[in-house]
């Protein structure tokens, strides 16, 4: 058995992001720079950039070159280790996770984590990046198809309708309309979701997250040093990561990788799913959020829909989920997504989330991603549990 844990060894002392959207006027490096400066500004007692001893950059599709030096160009931080991380939709959260390892070990006192993606410049979006000429990888399998396959299987097994799944999109767009950093700031109804054109049946347009540019940054330090920077640090309590594939089996109504990653994180933190007060979870598609309620232990298999119908996961509920509007409304600039979720939870736990501040005085927060790999989804999941000091 492992001898060490991350629990309570790392503090988040600053967090910032930029408004997500179609940012044709901002370059990859400008987006990083703005998110970084916002994170620096958020450190209550100030932080000199010279105190940053290492940095991690999470990004999938960098425009030119692919080393950590992109972060140095954007921030002026040269001469220190900068590691680039890529792990599908868990890219940003895995960058954060690896930074936490180094700080927990005491290699560095202060580290920077940046997640970024520029997705609008090439116009085509991820469907154009689909693996087309692959004989058995699945010719014509797109991102929406990966998740649509899970939707069909879930609807069939548990007798759930498209109308019920639409409640996820309705909730998240309602939150996103209030969230200043969201790409899409409009509300939608169940009828809007059902009437929208199909992308990959059973998923329609409003079941899918948009194609979005964005960046987010967090500053972390050794827990003992947190009080030098703020009186309201947020501590890392648990972290988990796992891979899986449906080619090993299963009926496509669950993402087992999330179950493994969540179990690792809950065990490390010494908490249970019931203890979580607020969560930012991976809703790249409406069905993803519904299945993830169950994989994260918030509801038994097939019963996630009750959390929506009973209002539990609404902004005013007892366990608000995706107060930021989630990926469906906020957008999903892949490398930025996990880091932006941590930014949002940092603000929620400190009571600084403005119009989307949850009302249940949160002590414990959970962050979650599920991503693709090897022409399938459910391939990689990352989970973090954060707590108020």
């Amino acid at each position: 058995m492992a001898q060490h844990s991350l629990r309570n060894k790392v503090a988040i002392i600053g967090a910032g992001m930029i408004k997500f959207g179609e940012l044709f006027d901002k370059s990859f490096e400008t987006m990083i720079e703005e998110a970084y400066l916002n994170a620096l500004k958020s450190v209550d007692k100030g932080l000199d950039p010279k105190e940053i001893e290492a940095a991690w950059l999470g990004t999938l599709y960098p425009p030119q070159g692919n080393s950590g030096v992109l972060l140095s160009f954007a921030t002026g931080l040269f001469g220190i280790p900068v590691t680039r991380v890529e792990n599908a939709c868990a890219t940003g959260s895995d960058a954060f996770r690896n930074a936490c390892f180094a700080v927990a070990l005491g290699l560095y006192d202060v580290a920077l984590v940046v997640g970024v993606e520029k997705m609008r410049d090439d116009g085509g979006g991820l469907i154009q990046r689909t693996a087309v000429k692959q004989l058995w990888g699945g010719r014509g399998v797109t991102m929406p198809a990966f998740f649509g396959l899970h939707a069909t299987a879930y609807m069939h097994k548990y007798k759930i309708s498209r109308e019920e799944i639409a409640l996820v999109s309705v909730k998240n767009h309602r939150n996103g309309a209030l969230y200043p950093y969201a790409h899409y700031r409009f509300e939608c109804s169940v009828e809007d979701v059902l009437k929208a054109p199909y992308i990959s049946y059973p998923l329609g347009l409003y079941d899918c997250c948009p194609v979005t540019d964005g960046a987010a940054a967090v500053l972390i330090c050794r827990a003992e040093l947190a009080s030098q920077y703020t009186d309201k640090p947020v501590f890392v309590l648990g972290s988990g990561l796992a891979t899986e594939t449906f080619f090993r089996g299963g009926d496509l109504t669950s993402f087992p990788a999330t179950r493994y990653a969540a179990q690792q994180a809950y065990e490390m933190a010494g908490v249970s799913p019931d203890d979580i007060d607020v969560a930012e979870i991976h809703d790249c598609f409406s069905i993803t959020e519904l299945i993830s309620y169950e994989d994260l232990g918030f509801a038994p298999p097939g019963q996630g829909i009750a959390l929506l119908k009973e209002g539990i996961v609404q902004l005013e509920g007892s366990k608000p989920i995706n107060p930021s509007g989630g990926l469906l409304a906020k957008g999903h600039p892949i490398g930025a997504t996990g880091v932006a979720q941590i930014v949002e939870l940092f603000e929620q736990l400190r009571g600084q989330a403005g119009p989307v501040q949850v009302k249940n005085n949160p002590q414990l927060a959970l962050q979650h991603n599920i991503g693709i790999g090897r022409t399938a989804t459910g391939s990689v999941s990352c989970v973090h549990i954060l707590g108020r000091g």
Partner: protein
């Protein structure tokens, strides 16, 4: 069958050949392996015919695809009779006929055109009684 990724699995693709773990029965496809995904360990495999019949585990109907595809395109995950799980396009089937559990059968078809050369592989159609 000219690009390296297609050439490497030409035999498996042409005859629906898989590789079965002698310990746990997991079927690896299309490449032979020496480590098993289910045993999570090095393992011995034997070559098997995967069979041509299978059942739909789940499906979608694709409405948005890159140029060169005809839509709506039914696409499924299929468990073949001898234990392999594969993606497959479904032909000769109206989208509304698709269901989880539907029995399908493999047919060798033209798949796509690569730099003027035709690439063949399997597509599936419902088993007609």
């Amino acid at each position: 069958m000219h690009t390296p990724p297609v050439w490497r699995i030409a035999r498996e693709n042409a005859r629906l050949i898989g590789y079965r773990c002698r310990r746990c029965g997991f079927v690896e496809f299309p490449e032979p392996r020496k480590t098993c995904k289910r045993c999570r360990a090095p393992a011995e495999f034997e070559e098997i015919s995967m069979g041509t019949r299978g059942k739909i585990v789940s499906f979608v109907v694709q409405h948005r695809l890159p140029e060169g595809f005809e839509t709506p395109l039914p696409l499924a995950v299929i468990d073949l009779e001898n234990g392999a799980r594969v993606y497959g396009q479904i032909v000769e089937c109206k989208p509304e006929e698709l269901t989880v559990g539907l029995e399908v059968e493999a047919d060798f078809r033209v798949f796509y055109d690569d730099a003027g050369l035709r690439v063949y592989s399997y597509k599936f159609h419902p088993v007609r009684g």
